[in-house]
Symmetry: C2
Subunit: 190 residues, 2 copies
C-alpha cells in the first residue's frame, strides 16, 4: 500500500480528467471532487491551473520514459521494441475508443487554446519520436530512420483518431495487421 502526497493525488486526478474531459473543460471543482479535498486547498500546492497542467505534462513525460524503459527490458530486437509501441493501441484500446490518444488530443487542444504549454505537450511526442528513430537506426535503416519513426507515429495517431470516431473494432484490427506487415517489410532481420 503506497502512500501518495496530496500533490501527487492532485496530479493524478487532473491527469485523468484532462484526458477524459479535456483541460479547458475540467474545473478545479472536478479535480477537488476526484481527490477529496476542498478547492481552496489547491493553491497551497499549485499557484494556478496552468501550474497543474505543467505538473501533469511532466508526470506524463516521466510515465512515458518508464514505459519506454520497460520496452527496452522486455523486447530484444529493435523490431520487437517498435511492436511494443504499436501495442499501446491494443493495451489502451478501451480508453482510446472513448477519448482518443492522450498525447495527440492534448497537443491539439493546446494549439486551439494558443496555450503556452503547447510545446511541452509536443515534447511527449518527441520522446516517442527519438526513441523510435533510434530503433530504426539500430535495425539498419540509418538513412531514413527519422522518416520511418514519424511515419509510425503518424500511423498510430490516425488509427487512434478514426477508432475514436467510428469505434470500429474491425478497423483497428485491420490497421494493426497492416502496420505489422509494413514493419516486416522495413526490417528484414528477426
Amino acid at each position: 500500500m503506497t502512500k501518495f502526497s496530496t500533490r501527487e493525488k492532485i496530479v493524478k486526478a487532473a491527469d485523468q480528467l484532462f484526458y477524459e474531459n479535456g483541460f479547458d473543460h475540467t474545473s478545479f471543482a472536478d479535480v477537488a471532487n476526484g481527490v477529496g479535498i476542498s478547492r481552496g486547498n489547491f493553491y497551497h500546492h499549485f499557484k494556478s491551473k496552468n501550474d497543474i497542467l505543467g505538473a501533469v505534462i511532466e508526470h506524463r513525460k516521466q510515465n512515458t520514459e518508464k514505459m519506454i524503459d520497460g520496452w527496452e527490458m522486455d523486447a530484444n530486437s529493435p523490431k520487437d521494441r517498435i511492436k511494443c509501441y504499436i501495442n499501446i493501441l491494443v493495451k489502451n484500446q478501451t480508453l482510446i475508443k472513448e477519448f482518443g490518444c492522450p498525447v495527440g488530443t492534448l497537443t491539439n487542444e493546446m494549439a486551439k487554446l494558443k496555450h503556452a504549454s503547447a510545446k511541452d505537450a509536443t515534447a511527449i511526442f518527441s520522446l516517442f519520436k527519438s526513441w523510435l528513430t533510434k530503433q530504426f537506426a539500430e535495425s539498419g535503416c540509418q538513412e531514413n530512420a527519422d522518416k520511418l519513426a514519424m511515419h509510425v507515429l503518424s500511423w498510430s495517431q490516425g488509427t487512434a483518431t478514426m477508432y475514436n470516431a467510428f469505434k470500429d473494432d474491425d478497423f483497428l484490427r485491420n490497421e494493426l495487421m497492416q502496420i505489422e506487415d509494413w514493419l516486416d517489410k522495413q526490417i528484414k532481420e528477426n
Copy 2:
C-alpha cells in the same frame, strides 16, 4: 455581392471560431464580436449554443458535399478523385498546421464533452468514407474498398495530427509522396 442573413453570418462566424478555438472555449461574446451583433440577439435565431453547433455541423456537411461534387467534376478517374481528397492537406495546409483537421478535432472534442452531437460530427467523416469507398470500388478494388477507404481517411488524419503537433513541412511533403506511391500500387490503371 451576395447578401447573407444574420443567421447565416452567425453560422459562418461560429464555424470558424469552433474550428480555431474549440467549441467549448468559444463564447457567445466571441461569436457576437465576429458577426457584429449583440449577445441577446442570438436567441432570436437559435435557442441554445447546442443549436448553433447543430447548424454549424449541417453547414459543414453541405460544404463537404459541395467539395465532393467539385471533385467529381474536375477529375476523370477514381484515382484522380482520391488524389483530390488527399490534396485537402495541401490546400488547407496553413490552417491544419495551426488548428489540425476540422473534422477530426471536432469529433474528438465531442467525445470528450460526451456531447449529444458526437454522432453528427462523425457523420461528416462518413461522407468522405462512403465516397472514397465508391472510388476504390470503381477502380477494381471491390473486395476491400471499405478497408482502403478507411485507410486513406486514417492516413490523412494521422498526417494532419502530426503536422499540427510538429509543424514540419518536410514531414508533410514526405507523407504526401508516400500516399501517392501507395495509391499507385493499389490502383494500377490511369
